[in-house]
């Protein structure tokens, strides 16, 4: 497949992102930072250590991961909806000699890039205001999770933005599905807090593999290959689904 179409659209998206990068970053850093200040610092004394780490350190990786995947999901879902339903730009791409798959691949890459950039921005801010320092290997192993994680959520966003025609529906799905999935995946508390019977189910979720795996990689440097595979395979499956669903929608 020739991907010059994907490249052209991705460059367009980056051009638009670059123009608004400052306000985007301020907006995206504000939320995790507030949570970090409230829980990681404000509540730290009441919570104490979780799994041997101070609470601030326990939630920091999850906040970065959350920012990244949220940014990836949001960018993909809204951008696809906007370009399809409001601006009709997808139509204008479709009358040029590029394939429908190239369009959707571009949008997935854009969501992914937003995730990585915004995740890193929050990471830098959190590291700047905390005393925690991580060795380079830990940071690299953390990236091994962040990359497929952002891809996974970008694909999920693209699917939502393809199948949902109304903005209200997008908001509802985010409130009912995406946020709970993120919050219940061990962002604020260890999995051991769940009743024993529930744990295997929670572990089966790719979001759990992502949040648990990423935290362990960053805090203690232990790489769970199982978790990496789980996240990466889910991302691949969603990628195939996203391309398929978008092609079907466009053929209507």
């Amino acid at each position: 497949m020739i991907l010059h179409g994907s490249l052209a659209i991705w460059i367009r998206d980056m051009q638009v992102l670059r123009r608004a990068i400052f306000s985007e970053l301020v907006a995206v850093v504000a939320y995790p930072l507030t949570i970090y200040l409230a829980f990681g610092i404000g509540m730290q004394g009441y919570i104490g250590a979780v799994e041997g780490s101070p609470y601030g350190l326990f939630i920091a990786p999850g906040l970065i991961t959350m920012t990244a995947v949220n940014a990836a999901y949001n960018e993909s879902v809204w951008s696809l909806w906007f370009h399809r339903r409001v601006q009709f730009t997808v139509e204008s791409y479709r009358v040029t000699p590029i394939s429908v798959s190239e369009i959707i691949i571009a949008k997935i890459c854009t969501g992914f890039t937003h995730g990585i950039i915004k995740g890193c921005a929050v990471g830098l801010v959190i590291f700047a205001i905390t005393p925690f320092r991580f060795p380079l290997e830990h940071l690299l192993s953390y990236l091994v999770f962040l990359i497929p994680g952002s891809a996974l959520f970008s694909c999920a966003g693209v699917i939502s933005g393809t199948v949902m025609d109304k903005p209200e529906t997008i908001g509802k799905v985010e409130a009912v599905l995406v946020m709970p999935l993120i919050f219940m995946s061990g962002l604020f508390f260890p999995l051991s807090s769940y009743p024993a019977a529930v744990i295997p189910w929670v572990r089966a979720l790719p979001t759990t593999a992502l949040f648990e795996g990423a935290r362990r990689a960053l805090v203690s440097g232990d790489m769970s290959l199982m978790y990496v595979l789980q996240v990466s395979l889910s991302a691949l499956v969603l990628f195939a689904l996203a391309v398929g669903i978008f092609r079907r929608k466009m053929a209507e």
Binding site: R19, E91, V95, T96, I98
Partner: protein, 309 residues
């Protein structure tokens, strides 16, 4: 003989229970300007979407420059320019960036597209505003930008879906002038609700309704088709009723219609006119004129006067 630019054969499109296109046949000659007229919901946009490979037909076939839309979509799209009914400009990109993106999607080289875009912006009178965003443009400027975008890659066939809807007469004329200047260098297929537009621009006109082609020909052919007969309008100073009775009795008068001081007279043939003039010798006639049929008369007579839901 070169193949026609656009060929559609028994094209049908079904949206669930609704038949939006019903065994539609069409042929558009290379280099011509073809106009498609039809009331709201007639199926014009549906037809353009199929011709431009955006949508699959339910049955029938379409060839653009001899290529089948079902199998050669990418190749066809590299040769066509499309101005859709909705404004599909990217409002987060400047006017120039909109054109650059389009050129890149067509795989054009930078040297090639930069020059071409300069030319087009100049031609469309947008050069001074190229760094501005389209939502700061007037409707006419936006439309011109969309037309420019469709021309960046020098298409062989240009599709325009209602290119001048919502424009003021000046902007409309500017678009017409430009379309006319393109004539011959590419095939142009446009849809419109403005009969004057079709009449001014198009070599051939098709009228469609309820997904069917109901008339096809040059403006003149369509007008002739409506009336094999000619209608004359005669204005009297007084005594309209008595002259109406006089004319009605004549063999060469087919129908007669009186209204205030006016008579509308349909003749069997134009040669009868001298007989009428003789019969009216000495009558208080103010004016005799030929009542020209307009394309609008043709359109209304073919598609009915009722408003579409």
């Amino acid at each position: 003989m070169p193949t026609a630019a656009i060929i559609a054969r028994s094209l049908t499109k079904q949206y669930a229970a609704l038949t939006a296109l019903n065994s539609f046949d069409l042929e558009v000659a290379q280099g011509s300007i073809f106009g498609l007229l039809g009331p709201n919901g007639a199926g014009k946009t549906t037809l353009i979407r199929i011709l431009t490979t955006l949508m699959r037909q339910s049955s029938g076939e379409v060839f653009i420059q001899g290529l089948d839309t079902r199998t050669a979509g990418r190749q066809i799209r590299s040769m066509i320019g499309v101005v859709s009914q909705e404004n599909s400009l990217d409002r987060y990109l400047t006017a120039r960036e909109n054109l650059v993106l389009h050129a890149r999607l067509h795989g054009m080289d930078k040297q090639l597209y930069s020059r071409r875009i300069d030319e087009l912006l100049e031609l469309m009178g947008l050069a001074g505003r190229q760094k501005d965003f389209p939502d700061t443009f007037s409707g006419g400027m936006q439309r011109r930008l969309v037309v420019a975008r469709a021309l960046v890659h020098q298409p062989q066939v240009l599709f325009l879906d209602e290119p001048t809807t919502g424009l003021d007469p000046q902007s409309r004329r500017a678009v017409w002038d430009y379309v006319r200047s393109l004539a011959g260098s590419m095939t142009i297929f446009l849809t419109t609700h403005y009969l004057e537009e079709a009449e001014q621009l198009c070599d051939r006109i098709a009228i469609m309704d309820h997904g069917r082609l109901i008339a096809l020909g040059s403006t003149q052919e369509l007008k002739d088709r409506l009336s094999g007969t000619t209608v004359y309008e005669i204005e009297f100073e007084r005594n309209v009723a008595s002259y109406a009775a006089l004319l009605k009795a004549m063999a060469c008068v087919r129908t007669i219609d009186a209204k205030d001081n006016l008579l509308h007279v349909t003749l069997e043939c134009w040669e009868c006119l001298s007989e009428i003039v003789t019969a009216l010798n000495g009558a208080p006639v103010r004016r005799i004129s030929l009542k020209e049929r307009t394309l609008e008369d043709v359109f209304i007579s073919l598609t009915g006067a009722g408003v579409r839901e």
